[in-house]
Symmetry: C2
Subunit: 321 residues, 2 copies
C-alpha cells in the first residue's frame, strides 16, 4: 500500500474532528486556530521498539502509549490537549498492524477529544513519534521552577506499577494472577492525568510527570526551582497489586525509581492545599502528600517513619553509562 | 553522555531565541504565543538513514535537510516559520556527530530565525523527525485545492538537480567536476522557498512543494482541485549543470520525476500573474511558467514544442510496489 493510501485509509478517515482545526491531514501542513487568550504548549516524544516498550507489545498499546506519554507532558504543563501529529517509521507496510495501531490511535483521540492533524509514514525501523499541542490560558503554564521551601509535595495515583509490569512481561518476575492484567495495563495503557493538570493551574507551584522515576523527576524540580525536598518514604502510594506481589524493599525500589507511570508530581503552597485537595477529591483522583520542599538547593532527603533513610538505587536514564 | 546533558549541551544552549517562545527547552512542554490574527501551520517530516539520504551524508547536512524539508512544507502553505521540535533517535551517543549535527541545526535556525523549542533524544536506529510550526494570517493559507482551469502553472528555481545529485553520490553516474559541488549541495542542502511562500498568499490559487517529483506532486494539486493540467515539457527549468551532465531524455526524467528539490509548484489566476511576477523578480527568485490548468479533472497532459508528449516514468513513492 502506498504512503498516501496509508494516511488516507488508516488515519485521515478515522481522525476525530475539532472545530479549531481549519485544515487537517492532506495538505502540506495542518492549519489550526488558537483561541484568544490562550498560549500553545508543544511536546514531542518518541517510542522505539525494544527500548520504550517490549518487542511483543500490541500495536493498539503502542498507539495508546505514544499518545498518552505526550498528553502526560501536556498535563504536567497544565495544558488541555488539542492536536497531535504522527511520524511512523515501519520496516514494511503491514495492513493488519496498521489497522490495530490506527484503532488504538482513534480510541485515545476520541477519549481526549484530540485531532490527528498530520502524519508522515516512512520506511525504517519501527519508531513512533508524536508531537502534541495543547492550550493553556495565558500565563498559567505549570513549570518546574516555582517550587518554594515549605510547599507540600504531592503525587497522583500509585507509583512503580509500570516498572513492575515491565518485569512481569519480560518474565523476570511472577506476580499473583489476579493482578496480572491491572499491572500490565499500567505499563501498556498509561493514563495521562489530563484533568488534574488543568486543575492544578494557579494552584501548584511546580509540576512534572513521572516518566523516568520519582527520584529522577523530582530532581528536575529541585534543579529548576533551586529547592531541596524531604520525602516520607512510608507515605509513598503503592498499589495493592505491588504490595501483594513483591517484598517491601522491592516495592520501594519500584516506587522510587521505576519510570513510565505518568503520574503527576507537584508542589503546592500551604495556603492552596485545602482548595487543591477539595478539587481533586471532587474529580475522584487519588493523590498523596509524600513530603515537602526544603531550602537546601538540590538536596533530596528521605525519611522512613521519621528516621533518616538512605536509598542507593537510581532512576532510569537514557544513554546512561 | 546522558540525555539531559545532550539536550542541554548540544541543543538548548545553541538555540536561536524568539520573543514568542515563552518557555523553551527544559520543561515538560514548550509554551508559545500566537499573535492575534494569525493561524498556526504545523508539519512533521522524518528522515531515515539510507531511505531519505545516503548512508555517508554528513551530520551537518542531515540537520539542514531535516529542517529544510519541514520549512518547505510551511512555505508551500504560505506560512512564516517560527518553531521546531526535534526527535532524534541514535544507536549510541556520539559527541562528534552530535556536535556537527547541532551546528547544522543552529545554522539553519539562525538563517530563518526559528527556535528549537523542544527535543527528545532516544536510543534507536538513526532517525530524525522535525515538527515545525509557522504562522499565516487568518484565512490566507495556500492550499492545494483552489486551482481553476485557465490558471497558469509555475515552478520556482530548477528541477531534477537533487535526483541527479543522489545518483552522483551513489556513484551511479559521473558528471563534469565543475558541477559536482552545486549538484551535491542541491541534494544535501535544499533551500526551502520560505520568502516566496509568503509572497504567494492571496496570489496563488494552489501551491505544493516538490518533494516527490513534479508529476507526483502536481497530481496532488489535480486531485485536490479537481482540475487537469497541461505541461509544456520544453519549458521545464533545467539547470546548466543538468543540461551539461546528462542527455535530454535523462534530464527530462530527472525534471519530471526526481524528488527532493523542494521548489514550489503553484497555480496563479490570470489577473494576478503580473503582480506575482513583479514580486518574485524583486525578490530575485527564479520562476518559470510551465503550463496551465485545464478542466479535465485529474488529467495530466504534456506537450513538447506544442506536440503531444508521452512520458512513461513515474514519481517517487514510499512503500511502492
Amino acid at each position: 500500500m502506498k504512503e498516501f493510501s496509508i494516511i488516507d485509509h488508516f488515519f485521515k478517515q478515522r481522525s476525530y474532528q475539532r472545530k479549531d482545526v481549519l485544515i487537517g491531514i492532506g495538505d502540506d501542513c495542518a492549519v489550526g486556530k488558537v483561541a484568544k487568550g490562550q498560549n500553545i504548549a508543544i511536546t514531542t516524544d518518541t517510542l522505539v521498539k525494544g527500548v520504550h516498550y517490549p518487542h511483543d507489545t500490541s500495536a493498539r498499546a503502542i498507539a495508546h502509549k505514544a499518545v498518552a506519554v505526550n498528553l502526560s507532558d501536556l498535563a504536567a504543563m497544565g495544558a488541555e490537549p488539542a492536536w497531535i501529529s504522527l511520524s511512523l517509521a515501519m520496516p514494511e507496510s503491514d495492513p493488519a498492524w496498521l489497522e490495530e495501531f490506527s484503532l488504538g490511535l482513534q480510541e485515545i483521540s476520541e477519549y481526549y477529544s484530540i485531532q490527528l492533524i498530520g502524519g508522515d509514514t516512512v520506511q525504517g525501523p519501527l519508531t513512533v513519534t508524536i508531537t502534541a499541542q495543547g492550550f493553556i490560558p495565558e500565563g498559567q503554564a505549570l513549570t518546574r521552577s516555582d517550587a518554594k521551601p515549605g510547599d507540600a509535595l504531592y503525587v497522583t495515583g500509585t507509583i512503580g506499577d509500570a516498572g513492575l509490569g515491565l518485569d512481569v512481561v519480560q518474565n523476570k518476575l511472577r506476580i499473583p494472577v489476579q493482578f496480572h492484567e491491572t499491572i500490565c495495563d499500567r505499563l501498556n495503557y498509561p493514563t495521562p492525568r489530563v484533568l488534574v493538570g488543568t486543575m492544578l493551574r494557579r494552584v501548584a507551584s511546580a509540576c512534572i510527570d513521572i516518566s523516568d522515576g520519582l527520584l529522577a523527576d523530582l530532581q528536575h524540580i529541585l534543579d529548576a526551582s533551586s529547592c531541596g525536598a524531604l520525602i516520607n518514604i512510608d507515605k509513598l502510594p503503592l498499589s495493592q497489586a505491588m504490595l501483594e506481589s513483591v517484598d517491601a524493599e522491592a516495592s520501594l525500589n519500584y516506587g522510587l525509581t521505576a519510570g513510565d507511570d505518568y503520574e503527576l508530581l507537584f508542589c503546592v503552597p500551604e495556603d492552596k492545599i485545602a482548595n487543591m485537595e477539595r478539587a481533586l477529591l471532587n474529580a475522584n483522583t487519588a493523590f498523596t502528600c509524600i513530603g515537602q520542599m526544603t531550602g537546601q538547593a538540590g538536596k533530596l532527603e528521605m525519611q522512613f517513619n521519621k528516621q533518616p533513610f538512605v536509598f542507593s538505587g537510581k532512576g532510569f536514564e537514557h544513554f546512561s553509562g
